[in-house]
């Protein structure tokens, strides 16, 4: 049934329909609407789950690690500082091979305090062994969250479902909320491979000597390598039940494109409109939306961008001393290819600044008019009166 709900409630509705059994979370803006709605569902019995109101995000992740080790479907949600605070436990969750799902509302990191959209928080968790899925709109948030449980449980790796602060978390949109029976068919109760049980004792997380540690890490990588296939299989089932699929990436008008935007999150929606405008004006512009950041969809990126002359990567994030993070990943995916486009890196929308159609038009024109990418990322829309150049 179509309902007008905000992105936060696309998450909480998926958690309810997914019959999550243990939720633990700590409130942080802009994640709060998610956990408030889940609390209501637990209180009213529309979700039969234990909600553990912990005293920090570090404890929230520890609690869902404990719960998932006990073999139940476990969920948490956080944002920005909270995700940074969880960092140690993110490594723990993936190396323990626990199928935890977390909603992550992209929020800028302090100082100065800033609660608005910025991907640097989640991208800073690049190497923690979590599958990362970036969403464009409310429908994708709901669908991806449901898929995340099935994917996590199929592969025994944790999944982060990522949505932009406010632009997505607090924006009301029509979302098709499926009925419980169809979701039950798609997502049956978990059959956990890890389940601590006093009737069948074993030890988890014991000390590991150098002789075995590398092999364990290699196993995680093998699981990561299997994610694209598993994800497509999950999407096949999801599509047959609900009629929607997204892909790890989505290529829009890329077949004959000279310049391809590389985007993620809510900027993708804006970019669709800009592609239409550019195409109407005779420009051969395309768009590659990257939904799955980890594992990085290297094959898709090579195949889709390989035909273009230039790629313009729009990063709402930054790695100090190097540049936009998506741009780095795209370059790494392409560098050993014989033929690949020049990769132009643009920084836009940090700390919740709007990325408008005009911003993307400017990026397009800058890319079109340059023969070679700048060595450094190009920062879009800087406010000259606020700058203090050293």
């Amino acid at each position: 049934m179509k309902r007008i709900i905000e992105g936060s409630h696309a998450v909480s509705e998926a958690v309810r329909l997914g019959r999550v059994q243990v939720v633990s979370a700590y409130p942080i803006t802009p994640q709060t609407h998610i956990v408030e709605a889940i609390s209501e569902d637990c209180a009213h019995g529309s979700l039969d789950a234990r909600f553990i109101c912990v005293e920090s995000e570090h404890s929230a992740m520890a609690a869902v690690i404990g719960a998932s080790s006990g073999g139940v479907r476990a969920f948490t949600a956080t944002s920005g500082q909270g995700l940074a605070y969880m960092h140690e436990l993110l490594h723990w969750a993936s190396a323990a091979r626990l199928p935890i799902v977390m909603a992550e509302v992209n929020r800028a990191l302090a100082p100065g305090w800033n609660i608005w959209a910025d991907q640097t928080d989640s991208l800073s968790q690049r190497d923690t062994g979590w599958i990362q899925l970036y969403c464009e709109d409310g429908q994708e948030v709901l669908d991806t969250t449901l898929q995340a449980f099935r994917l996590a449980e199929a592969i025994n790796l944790p999944v982060m479902v990522i949505l932009d602060a406010f632009f997505l978390s607090h924006t009301l949109e029509p979302v098709d909320v499926p009925d419980q029976d169809s979701v039950d068919r798609f997502l049956p109760p978990p059959t956990p491979r890890i389940k601590l049980d006093t009737a069948n004792p074993y030890a988890l997380g014991q000390m590991v000597a150098p002789a075995a540690y590398m092999e364990m890490r290699r196993d995680i990588q093998k699981a990561m390598e299997a994610v694209p296939g598993r994800f497509m299989a999950v999407e096949d089932v999801y599509e047959s039940e609900f009629g929607r699929r997204y892909g790890m990436t989505e290529a829009v008008a890329c077949e004959d494109a000279d310049i391809i935007f590389v985007v993620s999150g809510t900027v993708s929606g804006t970019c669709r409109q800009v592609i239409d405008e550019l195409r109407s004006g005779g420009e051969k512009a395309g768009m590659l939306k990257i939904k799955m950041f980890r594992p990085f969809p290297v094959d898709d990126v090579r195949r889709i961008l390989g035909r273009a002359g230039k790629a313009a990567v729009v990063d709402r994030n930054f790695s100090f001393g190097m540049g936009g993070i998506f741009a780095q990943e795209v370059k790494a995916a392409l560098c050993n290819e014989k033929k690949h486009p020049s990769v132009f890196g643009y920084i836009a929308g940090l700390g919740g600044r709007d990325v408008t159609p005009d911003t993307l038009q400017e990026i397009y024109q800058a890319t079109r008019l340059s023969d070679h990418p700048e060595r450094e990322s190009v920062w879009m829309g800087l406010n000259q009166t606020m700058m203090r150049d050293s």
Binding site: C53, V54, A67, A209
Partner: protein, 293 residues
Amino acid sequence: MNIAIQKATPNSELLHPGHVACPGCGAAIAMKFALKAVGEKTAVVIPACCWGVIAGPYPQTALKVPILQTAFATAGAAASGLRAAMDMNGDTESIVMAWAGDGGTFDIGLQSLSGAVERNEDIIYVCYDNEAYMNTGVQRSSSTPYGTRTTTTPGHAWKKSRKKNIMEIMAAHRIPYAASASIAFPEDMMQKFSRAGRLKGGSRFLHVFATCPTGWGIPSELSVKIARMAVQCNMFPLYEIENGMTYTLNYQGNAHVEDYIKTQGRFRHLSKADIAEIQKMVDEDWELLMRKM
């Protein structure tokens, strides 16, 4: 072991030989008796601490009960999560027992512990207290007593602040049951673990005094004797607190702290005056405790 203790001690051994504790390790003795008392339907949650190593290297385990090893600061939270999972799976009978050292309890894990007991989670939280970071090479913790030399309170910089009173912190949370226990009083300790096991439904906290021959500079064969002396001189009183309100004293000592302090390398540098200062602190603490009885 006297006949009374033998009668009270179940034969089941849930701690296997082959664990990797140092000779005379108080923490190993504590686990042996704790598991005898709470029984095999117990899952143990271990944050970073000596027991993270003692439990044995992958793929081995020294315990015949499930173990969940977890990050340093997280014993209270991870145990809460495991408890919730077991309940959701219909196993409300099994006990979840967090098993942390003093660093994981008094210091880095205090927030998580406070959160867990404030929620009155249905867990037993055990702190085996060897009064410093022993696993990492004897660094001071907030449980390290006044006067102690450690590798981070060396030479004249020996620790000048008091040991944190974790039992009072637990009492302030008004949890159903908190008790101190000692490896030198196994009968008393097992009774307390059994009681904690029976008091299912809320948070139970056990503060277990566990000597560390390696870190304290004591002969391993004197591990239990020195633990007994700590109780006998009232440095480590044995008592129980119900609901943060009702205090029960289990042992009254009358020995001088000097007898206890003189046995240990970690206190060797202390002067007569320093020891007199410690005696004064112990007397003060005892008086404060007696006012609550």
